[in-house]
């Protein structure tokens, strides 16, 4: 069974049909990329998968269990985490604290335990800080732990967001344009990090405009155009698909060169 299945997902915003009956599967252990022009409905699809919006129609299943209608925090508890296209960190918190929020699901201290700073809460807090720092190390930002998250560069903020998402220990990680705003070197590092994450057994679903990155690391590509799936398959196949080439006419050499 696929890890994630979307069946006939439809999303209307007033008269605008952002997604028009999209179905796909994400298999365990692979990196799947979603590409498509601006406004194709890629982010909307992510928002539906993680529960931020309820689709007009259609269902999404995780491990065969329907998750449409659940709240984002419930879906997160099932092992889905994400990053946001326009980086959504908690700017008034430190980098470490941001990642600690990612560890929230793995703690149990309640309001009263926290206020009284009970021994169990202290132990848990200590362990959480250790774990969160490991995730920061993984993305190479350990030395920024005590910096304010709002003051980092865009590339660094994307990495903190990645560490925060990894902190939830997801089985499925959704990345919305993780490379946008990154320079070439940062993008190369990102590719390495993402492969390493996949090799650890985390399934990745990624929206990305950087074609060379997509062609480089994706095992499977899904192409959306105006809310409709127009192609799906391994990079080599998608690259030579005439419908995809037609959509990317202006960026043809981009697709071909990847």
């Amino acid at each position: 069974m696929a890890l994630l299945e979307a069946e006939n997902v439809r999303q209307c915003f007033g008269g605008l049909v952002a997604l028009n009956g999209v179905s796909f599967e994400v298999r365990r252990g692979q990196i799947m990329a979603i590409i498509g022009p601006n406004g194709a409905g890629k982010t909307t699809l992510f928002n539906i998968v993680c529960g931020l919006i309820n689709p007009t129609d259609g269902v999404v299943r995780m491990d065969g269990k329907v998750i449409t209608g659940l709240k984002p925090f419930q879906i997160a508890a099932l092992g889905v985490s994400r990053t946001f296209q326009n980086v959504s960190l908690f700017p008034h918190m430190t980098v470490l604290e941001n990642v600690l929020v990612g560890r929230h699901l793995h703690g149990r201290a309640g309001l009263i335990g926290c206020a009284l700073r009970l021994p169990t809460q202290r132990r848990e807090e200590k362990a959480m800080v250790e774990q969160a720092s490991r995730f920061l190390e993984e993305v190479g930002l350990a030395e920024k732990a005590q910096h304010s998250a709002g003051g980092l560069s865009l590339g660094q903020r994307r990495l903190v967001e990645l560490a925060r998402a990894l902190g939830t220990e997801p089985r499925l990680l959704l990345l919305d344009e993780p490379a946008s705003g990154l320079n070439t070197k940062e993008t190369d590092n990102l590719a390495k990090t993402l492969r390493r994450i996949r090799d650890r057994g985390i399934t990745l679903l990624m929206v990305e405009h950087d074609m060379s990155l997509v062609m480089d690391i994706a095992d499977e590509i899904l192409v959306l155009d105006f809310g409709v799936k127009i192609a799906e398959g391994p990079p080599a196949q998608v690259r030579s698909d005439p419908k995809v080439i037609a959509v990317y006419l202006g960026e043809k050499e981009n697709v071909a060169s990847g």
Binding site: L52, M93, E97, V101, Q121, V129, Q146
Partner: protein, 364 residues
């Protein structure tokens, strides 16, 4: 990063300041100032609780005057309402056997007044307020946005009308003759003989609240509620049960308001309906802003000072207007609160545990 601070030196400073103030007022022969200071410290508890809700979790309440009043009125009513007529009823005898009924001589004649014990009234006052806060908060906090502000505003107006219009609650005069609340030899009471003692009781309660709330905001739950403030969508996507946490924080905040209301009703030996007016709710909000929003120590210091001046009558007939002006000035001149503007970062949160190696490298 920056000035991460430990709480104990700061608490010692608060305690020292409280002692110095008391001693110098004694030396200056102005001991009666302590009464208003004591009241101001109790009001500061409301403001700290609202700071947790508004400054940290980002949820605006315009009903804290009402929560305060519900706490105060519940205590005042239960400790003054004469239940002598209920003698013989099974529930009354049961309560009596449990030792939660107290009797005293009436102030006016020799008849016996039977009421609920003040300590029990205090507990009931806080619990009742928490339940009411949950009922008000539940529908509005499931949504994102400023629905809580609207709901609590409406709620405050209703409570105010009920208090003014209910003869059993003393209508416009409120409730008087509230007895003192004694626990283990200490009495929350406005009698001048225990004035100094009560000044320190108020500070002890306020500092205890400060410590508990500080612990909270620097913990797993505190981070979650600060995360809600910054981005509710991201917090929820990271697994924070946002509606539940917002509701719980509202309940904690309302409980603190009720606690202050109850203690002040005992200290002032009464309570009036003006406590529930929206002027009061807006005043608390202005004090949170003046304290620096997400700044518990700021809330404590600023509200103690300003409420004290207000109680001393410094602002004269412009009393309510002053707090409106403070609100406007903060928004216009120092949206982060006056302390940020002065370069003081009083509330810099310090991580409780620093991971081994990068502990120092980040600090500058």
């Amino acid at each position: 990063m920056n000035t991460t601070t430990r709480i104990w030196p700061r608490l010692a400073a608060f305690a020292a300041a409280a002692i110095v103030i008391q001693l110098s007022l004694g030396a200056a022969g102005k001991v009666y100032y302590l009464t208003q200071l004591t009241m101001a410290v109790y009001y500061a508890i409301v403001v700290m609780g609202l700071s947790l809700l508004m400054g940290y979790a980002g949820q605006v309440s315009l009903g804290h005057g009402a929560f305060f009043a519900i706490g105060g009125y519940t205590s005042a009513f239960l400790t003054t309402h004469n239940m002598a007529g209920c003698r013989g009823a099974a529930w009354f005898d049961l309560l009596d056997k449990c030792g939660v009924i107290v009797s005293r001589k009436s102030l006016y004649d020799d008849t016996l007044v039977l009421t609920v014990a003040p300590w029990l009234a205090f507990i009931v006052a806080v619990l009742l307020t928490v339940v009411i806060a949950a009922v008000i908060g539940y529908p509005s906090l499931r949504l994102r946005g400023h629905y809580l502000a609207m709901a609590t505003l409406g709620f405050g107006l209703i409570i105010h009308c009920i208090l003014i219009g209910s003869p059993v609650l003393g209508a416009a005069d409120g409730i008087t003759g509230v007895p003192s609340l004694s626990v283990g030899g200490l009495a929350v009471s406005g009698k001048s003989a225990v004035r100094v003692q009560n000044y320190y009781i108020a500070w002890a309660v306020a500092i205890a609240v400060l410590v508990l709330l500080r612990n909270l905001v620097e913990s797993r739950m505190g981070r979650a509620l600060r995360a809600i403030h910054d981005s509710e969508a991201a917090a929820s996507a990271m697994g924070v049960n946002t509606p539940k946490l917002k509701l719980e924080v509202l309940m904690v905040s309302a409980a603190l308001a009720a606690m202050a209301g109850s203690l002040l009703a005992h200290y002032n030996e009464g309570i009036g309906p003006s406590e529930s007016s929206s002027f009061k709710s807006v005043r608390y909000l202005a004090l949170v802003a003046a304290g620096g929003m997400a700044n518990l120590e700021g809330a404590l210091v600023v509200s103690t000072l300003l409420v004290f001046l207000s109680l001393r009558g410094w602002f004269g007939t412009y009393d309510n207007a002053v707090f409106g002006i403070i609100l406007i000035a903060i928004v216009a001149l120092a949206p982060q609160g006056p302390f940020r503007q002065l370069g003081l970062r009083m509330n810099r949160c310090r991580p409780l545990y620093k991971p081994g190696k990068e502990a120092r490298s980040g600090a500058s």
